[in-house]
Symmetry: C2
């Protein structure tokens, strides 16, 4: 590598051929999801109304690697492999001996890592003869990714978009429509769930999920698609970390710490899993940091318990850190991180001490994002701004300790649709919204009855 | 190359080391710019109040190649080399035997090709001891690029943004401010020019140029920066075409036709010049197509004459195709193409028959853009949608003729900030705004007195 190289690029030939399934490397006996009614372990059959068999098999697979279908790799080629950068300008600004690297997923058509799984899910549904996918979306990152993926495989796509976002972020809606999707404001009059929630006109992710699930469950040619949390979603995202592993080798460095933001866990998992497998196999001693918002501190303040994945209680009970499915996070701009729970896989790794969670307040993440934009050029989305904040913290610790440190973080999307938040920050008008201890206690008191987790 | 390769990537090692100056390959005797007062050839001294010597020397250079400073290449590394794609999915959709390639500049921090020259201009101004750059911006592509570049070289940046855009596109303003620039709504009260135009509260590019030039001309530590039209701007953009030339060789193909959209000419010139030089040197027989809006048909309906570069007549007289400096193009969304004139260099090539201009109406360009987005994934800016329309026309001609054809076009930016226009198009509410023949005749009647051009 040259002395001033900043970008590590791979050719199409180096596109990963397999996804990495970390379940194969974890000790057996992980708690299973439970049927929401019977509280018995939920099996593949319980998911068949919503997901095609191929994805269900991926969800429960014990194989260490799963081959990526050629048709999925053909779509990945439109933007993958993605670049890995060394943040030399940020390092100089921080006056740190640390080396900071970031893997950038904002080059995808939808501008984030979400298409990595949207394409895989659309493909498997099309193979299974499904005609339409339904989903929910908050700020629109996931809905636009699925709209794009459905278009390429000839599927219809119907998106329930959280009412407040629908009103405030018309451009994400335009993006979905440009790719041919139908977008509804949620709560809508099209579903029982929506009609029952007319008193909450601004909507919520929980309501939107209920609407999308209700429609998919009723129609045989329609399935539902989820953009995070589940094992198969994290699986698809492992293309990120696999490429980063090769690119770090090109840079001739071994990361001491891998950092990602966590909402549902798929961005963090996608980057970290290939590195985590090396730690589990005792080939490396990497640390892992999961950065979340202080306004929705699932991993740092939640309890480890069975809880519903959605607000109204339609989904299986998942073993995870949770703030309670009734918890409504205050309105931070990092909409992708406003989730009461987290991927069971990531939660298990936190529980096992392999992943260290940290929570950051909104203003400190925007300060980090602006510092990053002014040195590295890219304006980050509010979600990865949390990872930037944690990476800067690591770099400052290296400076204070006078020690070298190699930091790799995931820059999972650009902030082109989030500039009103930057506006507020630069005007000194950005809030650090908080929840009350009473709200959290009340949500935790509403956890469903279920076996305790060890 | 593999049978299904779609992306041709270069490493930092393959970043161009020189810019290409086409002036060296053109026959001598090109008409010079004229001083607006004396109507005598304008020399380097006439530009010294606004530009540093290094850029003036580039503007008038007869050297075939000019070395890119290391510090400029170091910034280019943040996003360059940019990818070249084969549009296999679009080809299939069009059922054409043509091979369609596109060079994508939307991966830059500002989302277009503009940073290629912004960085070079900011660097040379910083080297010359200048503290601040002023400029105008319409929709904000150029202003955000210069804001980014100034930040990296420690310069202040002051942008006059056309009033109507300032009101309608707050996110581009936020982007400039995130990179640390000061943004004024034009017409402003800060300048004589602005105060004289209070009766035009929505502003115009011409007024904004006058404000930025007025401030730069009055202060010794402040210079002005222009984002297109001039020779040195086209020079800086030739990194695009040089990379594309190497990438087409990687693909094993020779373009039959190179297509770009034209506003001021720097995007078109940047892609085409390296290919044009091969034609001038009789190493190739490539055709060139310049795509412009029918609402501002400079190359297809303008006259070839001396005219001012700005509306109020402060700049030198430039030899170019022009609709008259008083022509106010109707409000198409491709704001970057709404310019009454064009680069004298590009105009000379059109005049010589080397470049074929074509004009397209707004709705047909958006139809092409949506077709592109639904096959290739990237949502294009309204400006390169004109190039896409022309490229599709070429591909359809190949299909009708039953003949192979290799098409290369420039995709100079993404449309993330233009989704309201897509909204209007998808709703069937997009207009094809027109000017009246009287308006055009009146603007042409207002051309300044100057020597006729042959």
């Amino acid at each position: 590598m040259s002395d001033n190289q900043v970008k590590f690029v791979l050719t199409e030939r180096e596109l990963p051929t397999h996804w990495i399934n970390l379940m194969a490397d974890l000790p057996p006996g992980a708690p299973p999801p439970l049927h929401p009614g019977t509280k018995q372990p939920a099996g593949p059959d319980d998911l068949a109304a919503l997901f095609p068999l191929a994805l269900i098999l991926q969800e429960v697979s014990a194989e260490p690697e799963i081959e990526i279908p050629d048709q999925v790799r053909d779509v990945y080629r439109l933007w993958r492999p993605t670049p890995l950068y060394r943040a030399r300008r940020l390092e100089r600004e921080l006056d740190t001996p640390a080396h900071i690297y970031y893997k950038y997923e904002g080059v995808s058509p939808a501008g984030s890592h979400k298409p990595n799984t949207a394409v895989a899910q659309a493909y498997e549904n099309a193979q299974a003869g499904i005609r339409k996918l339904t989903t929910e979306t908050g700020a629109g990152q996931w809905g636009s990714s699925l709209a794009f993926a459905c278009r390429l495989f000839g599927l219809e796509c119907e998106v329930w978009m959280v009412g407040s976002s629908y009103d405030q972020k018309p451009y994400r809606r335009s993006m979905m429509e440009t790719w041919g999707a139908t977008v509804h404001r949620s709560p809508s009059d099209l579903t029982e769930a929506g009609r029952s929630q007319r008193e909450h006109p601004t909507g919520s992710l929980g309501i939107a999920i209920s609407e999308a699930v209700e429609v998919a469950a009723q129609r045989s040619e329609t399935n539902y698609s989820l953009g995070s949390v589940l094992n198969h979603v994290l699986l698809h995202q492992t293309v990120i970390g696999q490429e980063a592993l090769v690119q770090m080798q090109m840079a001739g460095e071994e990361p001491d710490v891998v950092v990602g933001c966590v909402g549902g866990g798929s961005n963090f998992g996608g980057l970290a899993i290939p590195f985590l497998r090396r730690v589990l196999r005792e080939q490396a001693t990497t640390r892992f940091v999961a950065a979340e918002p202080a306004a929705c501190p699932t991993l740092t303040r939640g309890v480890y318990a069975y809880d519903f994945g959605d607000t109204v209680g339609l989904t299986p009970l998942m073993p995870m850190y949770t703030l309670g499915h009734g918890f409504v996070p205050p309105p931070v701009h990092a909409g992708g991180l406003r989730y009461h729970g987290d991927s069971p896989l990531v939660c298990g790794l936190v529980r096992a001490g392999l992943v260290e969670p940290r929570a950051y307040r909104q203003n400190e993440t925007f300060a980090a994002a602006v510092q990053f934009a002014r040195t590295e050029g890219i304006i980050p989305a509010p979600e990865p701004a949390h990872a930037i904040r944690a990476a800067i913290e690591e770099a400052e610790a290296a400076r204070e300790g006078g020690e070298p440190r190699v930091i790799l973080f995931g820059l999972c999307g650009h902030g082109n649709f989030d500039l009103s938040a930057y506006d507020a920050y630069l005007a000194g008008e950005l809030e650090d919204p908080e929840f009350s201890e009473e709200e959290l206690a009340e949500a935790l008191a509403g956890l469903p009855e279920a076996p305790a987790l060890s």
